[in-house]
């Protein structure tokens, strides 16, 4: 005990020591929780990145991902689930918003989850579904919270993945990935609302483009739809506002790149040798989550 150093003979023991000992115990608990969350966030981020990496090898859209992806990524989904379970108890009740350090992991997971979901269903996973997914992975202790901010920032990053996915597809197959025909919007909407999480896959109607007039939606039209939504979204001020502003610039660049690549493909498509890669630099997105 360091306090002894301060004790002088004939004097009462230090007056505030008991109080400080109580503080020490609680601060230690707090720091332990914080450490666990920082570590979980890092592990979730790393595993999510690996999932995304594997997903970038998918060449199809609107159907369940190929077995090699399912198999390869199973371990990473497991890691993420384990990490969420590990910290679930630390972020309950009063502590639900106490450790913003989880946001990095949440955002990266959101990116992986929404990308996976998009590849299989060609739709954007909803916030409620994503939140429910994280909650279900958190185990019985209680849900780890995925905030609307985590969701939005993750979706911004997903645009970058769709860009990479599009460019790779154009380079290897010579065309932009597209899904099922756009016919009957009503049934498509219904199916979307029934979608629970990313697991459910669209097995129905693999019918090839129905009529030549009804062009199926391609990634670029989806990217544009996303861009529209993300651009009219008002984040308000604060850190979130600043994060959105930064990510919005990157997002616009990503859509531009796909548009440029498609232009090149259209203009010089017939001239280009097979395997030719469109000239788009891939810049690394700035890391926003630095904890």
């Amino acid at each position: 005990m360091k306090e002894e150093k301060f004790e002088q003979p004939g004097q009462a023991p230090l007056p505030f020591m008991e109080m400080f000992e109580g503080f020490r115990a609680e601060l230690d608990e707090h720091h332990d929780r914080r450490e666990r969350i920082i570590k979980a966030s890092r592990d979730i981020t790393a595993a999510s990145k690996k999932i995304i990496f594997t997903l970038q090898r998918v060449r199809t859209l609107g159907q369940s991902v190929p077995p090699f992806v399912v198999k390869g990524n199973a371990q990473y989904w497991e890691i993420i689930e384990k990490q969420y379970q590990h910290i679930a108890a630390d972020v309950q009740g009063l502590n639900a918003f106490r450790y913003p350090q989880i946001t990095g992991g949440n955002q990266e997971f959101m990116e992986a989850l929404s990308f996976h979901h998009y590849l299989e269903t060609q739709t954007l996973i909803s916030y409620d579904d994503a939140k429910a997914r994280v909650a279900s992975m958190s185990g019985d202790t209680g849900a780890v919270l995925l905030t609307p901010e985590d969701y939005i920032l993750g979706i911004f990053d997903m645009v970058g993945e769709l860009m990479r996915f599009s460019i790779t597809a154009m380079a290897t197959n010579g065309k932009l990935p597209a899904g099922k025909p756009k016919k009957e919007v009503r049934s498509a909407k219904k199916e979307e609302s029934e979608d629970q999480g990313a697991d459910k896959m669209d097995v129905d109607e693999q019918t090839p483009a129905a009529t030549p007039a009804e062009e199926p939606r391609n990634v670029l039209s989806d990217l544009r739809a996303l861009r529209l939504q993300l651009e009219i979204f008002e984040p308000g001020g604060g850190k979130f506002g600043a994060d959105v502003k930064k990510k919005a610039d990157v997002m616009r660049e990503c859509v531009d790149k796909v548009e440029k690549a498609l232009y090149q493909l259209t203009v010089r498509g017939t001239e280009r040798p097979k395997g030719w890669v469109p000239d788009v630099r891939e810049e690394r997105r700035p890391e926003l989550e630095s904890y």
């Binding site: 020591m17 400080f20 918003f97 909407k189 979307e192 739809a225």
Partner: protein
């Protein structure tokens, strides 16, 4: 937005926008209260800073003048607590923690000067309010663990305590200037006791750590004052204990 018909359910972003807008509204409501508190903190500190130029015997006048401002701050903190308790505590607490710390520091200094126990006679210096006592003064809970409501945290209390030490370091010198050679001794002991408490905490690299790292210099500053006094035989031989 027919282009998005299949890709994005428009309700997704409409709902998110609503959520974010609601948070913005909460922030706006809190901001007004917090600004009011900031103003009252300034008033408290303005009045209490007269303690640095007021002889010990006249302290009651300073304490009296501060009463009204402290009452105002207590009222505002209650208002803040009411508004903030409707929300998850840690979602918005970053907005007000600095102002709450300043209010705590004002009240800690006021109590140290004898404001808490003042009974109409001489002011009695040297009291440290505990976190719980501060909560009683402010009429808000402290260090909650099971309830998600507004409260004063340990960290806020400790940071306010470091500010109190800084204030007292200044007071030790100014007391000497006023010819008061006893309070520096009282402050010396007090600052050392607080420092000893901080020494047993395991702090991480955060604001509390930085604040607490500064304490050792304050301890030394006050020691220097006491040293200067003892060198010149100015330290009162006895009576320190009685006068406290």
């Amino acid at each position: 937005m027919s282009a998005s018909s299949g890709m994005i359910d428009p309700a997704i972003f409409e709902d998110l926008q609503t959520k974010v807008d609601e948070d913005t509204a909460v922030r706006d409501e809190l901001k007004d209260i917090i600004q009011a508190l900031e103003k009252q903190n300034r008033n408290i500190s303005f009045v209490l800073s007269r303690a640095h130029s007021t002889p010990y015997a006249d302290l009651p006048s300073v304490l009296k003048a501060s009463e009204e401002h402290i009452r105002n701050a207590i009222e505002t903190v209650s208002k803040l607590a009411q508004a903030a308790s409707k929300q998850p505590y840690y979602k918005f607490n970053g907005m007000w923690s600095r102002q709450v710390q300043d209010a705590l520091q004002g009240i800690l200094f006021w109590a140290w000067l004898g404001g808490k126990d003042y009974s109409g006679s001489e002011a009695k210096c040297g009291r440290l309010l505990t976190l719980e006592e501060l909560g009683e003064v402010l009429k808000v809970p402290t260090n909650l663990k099971d309830k998600d409501e507004f409260h004063i945290t340990i960290e806020e209390y400790l940071i306010a305590l470091t500010s109190l030490v800084e204030e007292l370091t200044r007071l030790a010198r100014n007391a000497v200037t006023l010819g008061d050679y006893e309070r520096p001794l009282l402050i010396n002991q007090f600052v050392k006791d607080v420092f000893a408490g901080f020494q047993i905490l395991n702090l991480k690299n955060d604001i509390l750590r930085r604040k607490s790292d500064g304490l050792k210099y304050r301890v030394k500053d006050v020691e220097d004052v006491v040293y200067d006094l003892s060198l010149r035989n100015l330290v009162p031989k006895k009576g320190v204990k009685e006068k406290q």
